[in-house]
Symmetry: C2
Subunit: 245 residues, 2 copies
Amino acid sequence: MTVPPTHPRYASLLLRERLVNAVEASVATPAGLIAHGRGEAFDYLLGERTHPFAEEAVRAAASLLLRARHPVLSVNGNVCALAMDDVVDVAGACGADIEINLFYWSSRREAAIRSAFASRHPGVVVRGQEGGRIPGLASHRATVDPLGIGDADVVMTPLEDGDRAEALLACGVQVIAIDLNPLSRTARAATVTIVDNIVRALPLLAREVVRQKREGTIDPTGYDNNSVLASAEHTLRAGAVGPEE
Amino acid sequence: MTVPPTHPRYASLLLRERLVNAVEASVATPAGLIAHGRGEAFDYLLGERTHPFAEEAVRAAASLLLRARHPVLSVNGNVCALAMDDVVDVAGACGADIEINLFYWSSRREAAIRSAFASRHPGVVVRGQEGGRIPGLASHRATVDPLGIGDADVVMTPLEDGDRAEALLACGVQVIAIDLNPLSRTARAATVTIVDNIVRALPLLAREVVRQKREGTIDPTGYDNNSVLASAEHTLRAGAVGPEE
């Protein structure tokens, strides 16, 4: 599939192509493709742009990451396929670990994701799912690196829904979600929820971390995730009618 | 992946499983999985139930099919994976042809869909993409059976977006769409748009065709697709907040 750059849906079609290739490389899964489609629909309803509620969450997320004792960025197949370089940028800017966490885990998939990172970012350490457990979770997502997510006080879990955010919060970990559906369980549970497409949000987050490092972190006490989610839901419901073409 | 029937998202997860299996069988494609995810998101926002605007469209669709000289039900990979039995029911009730029409066409995929139908419905004739063309379409979707879609006056095109509906309408063919996104090009172009999940809409349509055959078809002149689409968009925007669990 070769998409001409003049196609009105070029950006969106390019992301699809990346994900389809990632499934072929065992990085992503068929279920990940369906999840991406759900994200596309929410992004479409949000007008495929970054709204003020996302910018506000990005500022709070940057502050959380910079104030953390041990921040970890959790990476699944879709995150690797869509935003690997941006994850490396954010991790580098705030000194976070990167750790693979897969619902449909296999040694083959973990190796495929490791090798994707190694091919573009040979110096970067990527932790895996071995040796530790998050209590209160039945799926393979519970398995973590005891020196990575197992030791973290702030974890970013992009493109993920389900019960892991709740389980991490129950352990006293603060959670940053990136989720286009403001109604999802992860979005509602997280400490900070960035309702935006990961390919737009992570570059913003990397820049915001760099800015706050230079100018000082913002005070997170004024941040209200429920009000951010309410704005996102309002925009989804009443706002943009599809993307501008 | 085995989903326990007690899971709150059982019905939705079962459809996903069917589609993933369909990709393995070459019936559906990775792009079809992404499209299914988009449908899931719209269905979620509609509360995963059939609304009055969909019932109204189903009545109009049944009337169109019964009044047609030559109705054809177009089938792609996702339709085959999700609703093959229902397509056969509707076709049987209204005397419509069934014809395979694939964007990502290959002889292998067409054969896989034929064999899926043959294994469950051995007596049913399934037309393919050969011998005729719809003018004004660049993709393989333009290729049709000259005695099937090439001769039809009413074509049902479920789970499809793009320019085929417009091209068919330009040839004087009336188009019935089944699309969970009331804003899509197909939804906006079609003569009748059923904004509902195909697995709920097609059984309703089969029953409605049978009812109208018994009691007489409804007069289609009162039907207003724009008003149906406006209701669907309103419900999507302002209505249900996710499915009842």
